[in-house]
Symmetry: C2
Subunit: 165 residues, 2 copies
Amino acid sequence: MTQSTMTTEQKEYFMREALKEAHKAQLLDEVPIGAVIVLDNQIIGRGHNVRELSQDATTHAELLAIKDANRQQKSWRLEDAQLFVTLEPCPMCSGAIILSRIKEVYYGAKDPKAGTVDSLMQLLSDSRFNHQSVVESGILENECSELLTSFFKELRKRKKKQKKD
Amino acid sequence: MTQSTMTTEQKEYFMREALKEAHKAQLLDEVPIGAVIVLDNQIIGRGHNVRELSQDATTHAELLAIKDANRQQKSWRLEDAQLFVTLEPCPMCSGAIILSRIKEVYYGAKDPKAGTVDSLMQLLSDSRFNHQSVVESGILENECSELLTSFFKELRKRKKKQKKD
């Protein structure tokens, strides 16, 4: 497994772009998770979670960003690309990363409930699959997790208010 | 974990429908894998692998069938549905099954290289995720695996011929 090809400045720059996507989800009352895909220092795919709006179980930030990058590249292969996502990927998104052969994966906050890059299992370094990615976690971790924490706090407050009304 | 709610006749009937989808993929020169999603004995979603045609890494049979069923149901939740697929699901598709909360999963042939329902790992019975499915394998296994074997045999023959020409 080779090492990251990005400087700290690059990593934080692109994670801020993923955070912008997460904010778009938040404005739609969706769980605020965002992702971007980068090739040669350019963003070639973007996505944010829209599960409720789309009523489509597959519309996670990473999956939409991968589809967007595939479209832009006219290729399902993203072998030289980097993915930046605010939250640790789930099994579906980890699987899509393997299938599209993304080279490097950077994420912000860990997901102890459904994360399958580090937390529950390590799908992206499992040598039984035909592709492995370089992984780095904790990029702008506080911003990424704070966005989620405040979203769920607000949601609980609203639900409590609804019950009282 | 509850048991299958389907008779052998129902299982084979719907797997034949998944095989019809796999044949559609074959006609497009795609790896012949097909899937259908069933609710109350009716097909509510269909899909076949079109990775090369679409140049989209996420266009596996199961993922397309789930998206189709979500659209038809106007809901990301498929909690009472059955999925039939000719080949054991990969991590991406296993993840999409968990996310859409499909109740029962029936597949034909095992995939020792990338299958994550039984072969490499057991994502659909892992109690750490917030959903588990009833799983049954080996439905019309011979037809499902024969379709794949003959596809790859034909592909190798063609490649050999191309080299000679």
